[in-house]
């Protein structure tokens, strides 16, 4: 590849200056004339029959412009995957926080008073929170038409698991649990909705999936998708959490009823109660290996709690069943997954998408195998790790794999061998690896690629349109770099448009670590198209052929005689003049070489590229309290090529911080069926003191399918963190953590039960 001017260099986010000066208008900052404040009345019970709702007093309060319940909606069942949602609860509420009614008023105080005036008569019903209890016979049903509370089942099997297990030298078998945690993006979910005179609805909201959301919401609102417009301003983080959610639809219904714009911003409490946190999962794992440490077979059962409606949990449980199988050269695998309805908040996507849960389990199990076999855990990973140009048990074609390099580089940087062998009481070091995807073929059935539009105005200003979503991770900057590189211009010439479904391409969005590869390849194709159009004009003006034309630093020149140069702006101006005002518009798309998995065998290459990583944590455990602190952290990640190394390192450090919070601090707790720590007072996320220095190492094997060789990094940044920390806790104390988060009292009790410290 020729020399790169822009790609591979660290640029600040293109929006960083606005963000640093407070100029950025986030969703919660938006204001429209005559805008009303929306607020939602939520169920105080985990499961209750609605006997009656009286909204008369609320509606009569001066300043209240709309009060809405299920009766004011189209009463259509909908959902992104399984149509078990309604905009408001109809006959009964199914979780503490379920939407019952909403108001729109001229200010927040009046809206709050109005909510207090709504009289709802409930009859409490028996509830279930644990998915294991929910599966038992006689358990209360969350949805009457779902016997056993089973929302979905998934199974996959390849090879001969039983035989391979029998033939194994060692077999490890255990039960693990990963808990429910909250994304805790800093800007709560919010929406601004407006309806025009024709009835067309516009929603401004922070969403990872503007176009798919539009399709789901059009159905919910009983309208044609072309009557719905989604605009995505800058928004404050998502981490998987900002997909479909009823509050957007409630804002729309309130705007329809009041005839005025309505902004609805979740309080932090409401965001905890009715966001879409991580799917909690129970795992039974059985895994075998030969005496040499070659993995022979893996068998898992996964039970995940969907909460009161299926959002994406069934796909997440499926992912937990089998994605991690392509981390190692496993041949014999079997998994059974159950997604179970419970009377708790609907769970969905959170960085890792099930693979983080199963990576915790698999990498804990590998630590056990390494101990039983007396093999260095790093060596065990290197022995089994998937390499470049290999095909996994599920038919995944691994183009490039930097897994082994990640293990060796992380080990070296962390001084692994020395620290692993140097035993100090209550100090430990642990290692874990991960794989992931860069896009997931079956997530949206119709297609999985990316697309873009690159517009070059008469002044030479470039605007990139995409339909993905920058949730703060810096995707717009990455896209700007890719486009600037392809066009041969400087970064200050490239602008990235806000996603607006009226204008932007139909991008699938930002999930499955797909943005950089899918969206990046999409805007790259569009940039190539724009470039080719400009090169034709440049060739004409330079009296040469288009193939002889090049552009660098915004100057077109002939490669054979580089004496004459014409600026990019001049070519853009000439193009617009020749085309009587029409700008250059490049469009393009990327069709990945993927395949839908076979419905029975689940075999099929689901992603064009697979990122890998290895993380090493060092911990200290307080022998008096059981408190764990992470003292050092090294993370080596195969990112294909880092388009923007500073941003890539930022993703890694941020992912690890979230993984650390999950492992040691965070848990959404329930008592009497109600979430009891639904705010930042009682639900503590990491502060700067909890996060150690994180050394990030970028391993760049250059992925053939990636834009300039790039893969994704968002989710793999977190996937191995939990096991790296808990394996370090084992090294420090001899206690195997099988349940997240680590509970200091339990850990202390287990340490005392062991009697003698293993490292002493």
């Amino acid at each position: 590849m020729s020399q790169l001017d822009i790609v591979g260099k660290s640029f600040p986010q293109i929006a960083a200056r606005e963000k640093a000066t407070g100029e950025t208008k986030f969703v919660t900052d938006l204001v429209l004339p005559r805008m009303l404040c929306g607020q939602v009345l939520r169920s105080p019970y985990p499961h209750a029959k609605i006997i009656s709702i009286d909204t008369a007093k609320a509606a009569a309060l001066p300043g209240v412009k709309a009060v809405v319940t299920f009766q004011d909606t189209p009463k259509i069942k909908f959902g992104p995957r399984s149509e078990d949602w309604t905009i408001f609860a109809s006959d009964k509420t199914r979780f503490h926080g379920d939407e019952v009614a909403a108001v729109a008023a001229v200010d927040a105080d009046i809206a709050e008073q109005a909510l207090e005036l709504i009289r709802v008569e409930y009859k409490e019903l028996p509830y279930i929170i644990s998915p294991l209890d929910a599966m038992k016979q006689g358990a209360p049903l969350v949805h009457e038409d779902k016997p056993g509370n089973i929302g979905a089942e998934f199974k996959v099997e390849a090879g001969d698991v039983d035989r391979a297990m029998d033939d194994s030298y060692v077999v490890y078998e255990d039960h693990f649990y990963t808990n429910q945690v909250y994304q805790a993006y800093m800007e709560p979910m919010s929406a601004l909705a407006d309806v025009d005179l024709s009835g067309r609805v516009s929603i401004w909201t922070g969403t990872q999936i503007p176009n798919m959301m539009r399709m789901t919401y059009a159905k919910a609102l009983g309208m044609s998708p072309d009557n719905l417009r989604i605009v995505v301003p800058e928004y404050g983080g998502a981490f998987g959490g900002k997909m479909e959610n009823n509050i957007h639809l409630i804002a729309a219904v309130l705007a329809q009823k009041s005839g005025r714009p309505v902004k609805l911003v979740n309080t932090r409490h409401d965001d905890f109660l009715a966001g879409n946190p991580r799917v909690p999962m129970h795992f039974d794992i059985k895994i075998g290996a030969t005496q040499d440490g070659i993995l022979t077979a893996k068998d898992v059962k996964v039970v995940g709690a969907a909460g009161a409606r299926l959002v994406y949990s069934q796909v997440i449980v499926a992912t937990a069943c089998y994605r991690v199988d392509s981390l190692y050269r496993l041949k014999n695998v079997r998994a059974k997954g159950y997604t179970v309805y419970t009377n708790s908040v609907p769970t969905a996507c959170f960085r890792g998408f099930g693979n983080s849960q199963s990576t915790f389990v698999l990498e804990s199990a590998l630590d056990e195998l390494a101990i039983q076999l007396k093999i260095d855990p790093a060596e065990l990973r290197i022995k089994n790790g998937m390499g470049s140009n290999e095909t996994s048990v599920h038919g995944w074609k691994i183009g490039s794999s930097g897994l082994r390099e990640c293990v060796t580089k992380a080990s070296k940087a962390a001084n692994w061998s020395q620290k692993k062998n140097n035993k100090t009481p209550f100090k430990g070091i642990g290692l874990a690896c991960c794989n992931h995807v860069s896009g997931n073929r079956p997530f949206a059935r119709e297609f999985d690629g990316g697309s873009g539009i690159v517009r070059v105005g008469k002044d030479g200003r470039i605007t990139v349109f995409h339909g993905e979503s920058d949730m703060g991770q810096g995707q717009n900057t990455t896209f700007a770099q890719i486009v600037a590189e392809r066009l041969g211009v400087t970064m200050d010439m490239v602008n990235v448009a806000q996603v607006d479904t009226d204008i932007s391409p139909f991008g699938l969005g930002s999930f499955a670590t797909r943005g950089t590869l899918m969206g990046g390849n999409g805007v790259l194709a569009a940039a190539k198209d724009a470039y080719d159009q400009m090169a034709d004009i440049a060739a004409d003006m330079l009296n040469t052929k288009a193939a002889d034309v090049a552009c660098r630093k915004a100057m077109f020149f002939s490669k054979s005689s580089s004496e004459t140069k014409i600026s990019f702006q001049d070519i853009a101006s000439e193009a617009t003049i020749r085309h009587h005002g029409a700008p250059i518009v490049g469009t393009g798309f990327y069709k990945p070489p993927t395949e839908l998995p076979d419905p029975d065998t689940k075999k099929g290459n689901i992603s064009p590229a697979y990122p890998f990583g290895c993380q090493i944590a060092e911990v200290e455990v307080d022998p008096d309290t059981g408190q764990v602190s992470v003292t050092n952290f090294v993370a080596a990640h195969d990112v294909g090529r880092a388009i923007n190394p500073m941003a890539t390192v930022g993703q890694i450090q941020g992912g690890i911080a979230q993984g650390l919070g999950w492992t040691l601090m965070e848990n959404m707790a329930y008592e009497d069926g109600k979430m009891i720590n639904a705010d930042f007072v009682d639900y503590i996320v990491p502060s700067c003191f909890d996060i150690p220095d994180i050394k990030a190492i970028l391993v760049e094997p250059i992925e053939p399918n990636g834009p300039y060789g790039a893969k994704g990094i968002g989710e793999p940044a977190l996937n191995p963190t939990m096991a790296a920390i808990t394996n370090a806790i084992y090294d420090a104390t001899g206690v195997r953590i099988k349940e997240l988060p680590v509970n200091p009292q339990k850990l202390l009790a287990q340490i005392q039960k062991l009697g003698k410290h293993v490292k002493e």
Binding site: E23, D29, G654
Partner: protein, 162 residues
């Protein structure tokens, strides 16, 4: 509720406001003065996104009644850089300390108060100062680095980011 008259000096400009006494400074700044750079992350003083400087001290605007700020000097993120971008803002930009940017205004205000009081803080002093400002994107490493780079006198100590 009876309205009261208050006077605020915000980013050097005088404001005379007629408000109900129950309103918090955050809402008055965001709604009445349209200074939306100050963010609400939790409403309970636990995330620091609403941090502004009240007579130079960092406070949670979500927990401060506007009435309490009567007669005080208030600096919001819009007033930090005055005409130029403040070196702290520049450092946050250049060091990659900003991802979604929702915590950034509060974080920069807290850091500004620290540097005004202590021109060359240690890493631990920086962490003490920003311990009440949550960031969910960056893992804090780059934020501490950015603040540290403003405090350090010597270029060499500023450290490189790739």
């Amino acid at each position: 509720m009876k309205h009261v008259r208050i006077h605020l000096v915000v980013n050097g400009e005088d404001y005379s406001l007629f408000i109900t006494p129950n309103r918090v400074l955050l809402d008055v700044l965001r709604e009445d003065l349209e200074l939306t750079g100050t963010k609400e992350g939790c409403g309970l003083g636990k995330c620091g996104a609403c941090t502004v400087l009240l007579d130079g001290r960092p406070v949670h605007a979500c927990l401060t009644l506007a009435l309490q700020a009567d007669g005080c000097q208030i600096t919001t993120i819009e007033g930090i850089g005055e005409k130029e971008v403040h070196p702290l803002q520049e450092a946050f930009i250049d060091k990659g300390a900003i991802q979604c940017g929702f915590c950034t205004p509060g974080m920069i205000n807290t850091a500004k108060a620290l540097l005004d009081a202590n021109a060359n803080p240690s890493e631990d002093e920086i962490k003490q100062a920003i311990a009440g400002n949550l960031c969910r994107c960056t893992g804090y490493n780059k934020i501490v680095d950015a603040i540290h780079s403003c405090g350090c006198q010597s270029e060499k100590e500023k450290g490189e980011v790739r």
